[in-house]
Symmetry: C2
DNA sequence: ATTATAATGAAAATGGTTGTCATTAACAAT
DNA sequence: ATTGTTAATGACAACCATTTTCATTATAAT
């Protein structure tokens, strides 16, 4: 209920308009679902969750909106190895919640972790700086994932 | 010409037989292509490159062989965002050549880098140890990628 | 209210990857 | 070297997440 001021004043509206994008019901609904979610949703997951509040939405629109959100940097798109893209809000209104992922290659379970993030971010910054210089590359983002077997899958063997 | 002893003595044969896999012409050809490649090949790239030395190979076999190789840990499978999987030999006979990737989100160019690898690996080991303990997760692998704009794409704007 | 055009949704198309199945090849046993 | 067992192969079809098309609708500037 915070940051919602009867249409037209959500935190991301500014960013949208600034880039020439229009604010639509479909986009509001999709962002609403994303901000409520605590898992990593697929396009179809979102499509289904949006239905109750906007029954006429098309899956195509979900895909297109997600593209826009990824472009704007509001949403991250991931490949966790289960054959479909997974999406996650980059940051809520209250600020970023930077984390990386631990992925079970057997059951595809994904764990968000923030432990050790400080040291990681520190090293990443240094590395990014060095790489930018050496390869004349403008780094905008990074991806860190650990793969292995979760407790359940490990015990099962 | 090293490590090749007239069929039956390539460095990876042991690993293959140990797991009950048979050694076939198709597999030899695919591994040959992979070990000669200095880029990141797609399944179709491999299919095309294998043709001259083995014209009857099917694309299906390429996919299946790659699955086996990934399973055995001889090959890494990557998603660089160009809609097709990319494959790379994990290590040659002379030993590993551990590196990470720098990916241009515009032109999809991929740069292998080994700079800072030592520090990264150091931190990764620590992190892996901590995460393994906390989440009871058996970590077997990691993925680190930096995204951004390469020099050409950056200047173009 | 008018207008320009971005956004939408239904449907079809795309294309990388996987499944099917009859045939062939690898290799252990003889 | 020959045979038998069965993994591997390749042609082809199927799968399915994602994209394209296009006529219609909604947004927002004027
Ligand atoms: Mn996450
Ligand atoms: Mn590489
Ligand atoms: Zn698991
Ligand atoms: Zn580029």
């Amino acid at each position: 209920m915070r940051n919602k001021d009867c249409r037209g004043h959500l935190w991301w509206h500014g960013r949208f308009r600034g880039c020439g994008y229009r604010i639509t019901l479909a986009r509001e609904a999709i962002l609403e679902v994303l901000s409520r979610a605590n898992q990593h949703l697929s396009a179809e997951d979102i499509y289904i969750k949006v239905h109750p509040m906007y029954p006429n939405i098309g899956l195509t629109t979900v895909y297109r909106t997600l593209d826009v959100l990824v472009d704007l940097g509001l949403v991250f798109k991931f490949d966790f190895g289960d054959k479909r893209a997974r999406y996650e809000l980059a940051e809520g209104p209250k600020g970023a919640h930077h984390h990386h992922h631990l992925i079970c290659t057997n059951c595809k379970r994904v764990i968000d972790y923030t432990d050790f993030i400080d040291e990681e971010v520190e090293l990443l910054n240094q590395t990014e700086k060095g790489l930018s210089k050496k390869y004349n590359f403008m780094i905008t983002n990074h991806l860190i994932q650990f793969y292995g077997l979760c407790d359940k899958c490990n015990n099962k063997k």
